[in-house]
Amino acid sequence: MRWKTTDYTGWGRALRATGRLARPERLSTLAGLMRDEPSPAIGNGRSYGDACLNDGGAAIRTVRLDRVLSFDPATGTVEVESGATLGDLARLFAPRGWLPAVMPGTGFATVGGAIAHDVHGKNHHGAGSFGQHLRALTLLLPGGETRRVTPGDPLFAATVGGLGQTGAIATAELQLLKCKGDVMIVTERRIPGWDAFLERLDASDATYTVGWIDATARGDDLGRGILEEGETGSGLVTQRGRARAVPFDAPAFALSPPVVKLFNAAYFRRVPAAGRTVVKPIQDFFFPLDRIRDWNRLYGREGFHQFQCVVPVDGAPALRAMLERIARSGLASPLAVLKRMGPGAAGLMSFPMEGYTLAVDFANRAGAQRLIAALEADALAAGGRIYLAKDALSKGATIRAMYPRRAEWAEIVNGIDPEGRLETDLVRRLDLRSA
């Protein structure tokens, strides 16, 4: 039960923390920590901002608690320790005909983190959020009490999307989703502009849908991009080789506007004008960037921010205006994603709502921070909200106005953790637990 004092960051590397970290290897050790020194649990540090940071305090990394405890091949339910990664589960279960029902854009996210952010995936319009496929979880409350929590319990709704504020998740029972095998059949189409994109997204009946947007394109090209629609299948494809790593922090010009513009134009033309259908390993479709380990270093020492918001369906014109603002700024990186969201959400603080979600990465510079502040105001005015797994810059008042059930959540959380031992930098920065 030893602590290590260290510097650490979230995935965006723009915000940093110094503090004590524990990394238990057994559930009994985790329980002992929550009894003696209750601290927020963090997973693999894949949230971008400060949801996984506790500067000056302590945190418990769950990454070594990553075992599969049981699996029922008849029903597809699996019980895992909370530090298991979704990529590991996909790799393990896809050949058996099952997949985690919801997978975010990286396979390195842990089950615990996926619950704490109630993450969504490329199938949100059909399958809903991660927490909707959660049968039960065991929660270690501050003080050491172990509680099995199931849907319907108010504690369940406070824990799913609950940013780790109700305790440490020890294990979780997930309902997996049937799949045909471990390959994806993906149809890729060029989309010439914004209106066509929304039309295509609305009309798509594919299980998995995601849009890549060229956030540097302006004028008639505004909102052009590539729509990917995927279904699982079985077959034989060449498994990919070993992942490459980014060995050092890249210099600033690596993602400068002209480079991004050139890259995006080439990326757009990668797909033939008539579109194409390709077969690829599931990891390549769900976790395309996991092939490049430590890709966040491409943004250099200053790190980067991801802006992600969702706006209701009738807020689409406002979202278009936001994309215009981004394109005018010339600050966008190649990573920009547009998706249709369904209404599915499982927690009081869940991000998803029916509408459209836009996510764009920006290198961490003063201009980008001003731009993101303006985008946040736009999102609020459009009746939308900002994703707390990504946020590093918002102000508390803006965020609190976006999450209508926050006060209800705060009351439950403060009842469980009255001393605020589980607060993270994010919770303090946005003052999320105030009455």
Binding site: R2, P24, E25, R67, E81, L92
Partner: protein
């Protein structure tokens, strides 16, 4: 992985001290090869969890059994439960109380030596006839670079490991004649619960990397490996320092 031929039973691996992260990494790697696993240690709940995990990852079987280096009555039941086929064993047990705690209570030496040397050695001594009878089987013994030279910081642990190294060397000499083999593994700094938070760690290896090195050494029938390999060079230098100088150093 091609399916195992039905007439050959899967290889059995007994892992002593299977709750350690290095043993867990080795268990997963062996599970991927379809081995039958016997996971031995004291924390039964934790061993059961690892056993379930290994079954999901392809192990032919995975069983949690009680092993306590300080309680020899736990040894024979493990051997009694073994099935047909080649039996291998990997020893990860050991304990390293801080030297200052030993200075305060010299009786701690007994437990350290039992955990790190005599307990596992007694178990291996009971296993050796089985390896000889079946004409095959590999023993992997986890030693330590600390056993290569006595240092002020951990010489009791180092002495126990040095004893274990010599034991393994003798066992190798014996089993080789019968078709068996012994690999002595000397890890440098490994990223485990034991080293978490200790100051001054450098070039720390992941448990998965150590497990991969161990399996490679087993395949190639290496005798003594350092993992990562550069520790061989570091220890070559440290062993070469004359005692006259070494006694004044704090390395």
């Amino acid at each position: 992985m091609p399916p195992a031929r039905p007439e050959t039973p899967p290889e059995t691996w007994i892992l002593l001290g299977a709750t350690s992260s290095m043993a867990r990494a080795l268990a997963r790697a062996l599970a991927g090869r379809g081995a039958a696993l016997v996971l031995a240690g004291r924390d039964m709940a934790d061993l059961e969890a690892t056993a379930a995990d290994c079954l999901m990852r392809g192990a032919a079987s995975a069983e949690a059994v009680r092993f306590d280096a300080r309680d020899p009555s736990t040894f024979q039941p493990i051997l009694d439960g073994l099935g047909e086929g080649v039996v291998n064993a990997a020893v990860f047990v050991g304990s390293m109380p801080p030297q200052s705690a030993i200075d305060a209570d010299p009786a701690l030496i007994d437990g350290t030596v039992t955990d790190s040397f005599t307990g596992p050695a007694r178990f291996l001594q009971m296993l050796a006839p089985l390896i000889e009878a079946r004409g095959a089987g590999c023993v992997v013994g986890l030693g330590s670079v600390a056993g290569d030279r006595g240092r002020i910081g951990n010489y009791v642990y180092g002495a126990a490991k040095a004893g274990f190294h010599t034991y393994l060397s003798g066992l190798r000499n014996r089993l080789t004649r019968a078709g068996g083999h012994v690999v002595t593994v000397k890890p440098g700094f490994t990223d485990t619960a034991m080293t978490w938070g200790i100051e001054g760690m450098f070039l720390v290896a992941s448990p998965d990397a150590v497990a991969a090195n161990i399996l490679k050494a087993v395949e190639k029938r290496r005798d003594v490996i350092y993992t990562p390999g550069f520790w061989r060079l570091i220890m070559l230098i440290i062993r070469a320092i004359p005692e006259r100088m070494f006694k004044k150093m704090s390395v």
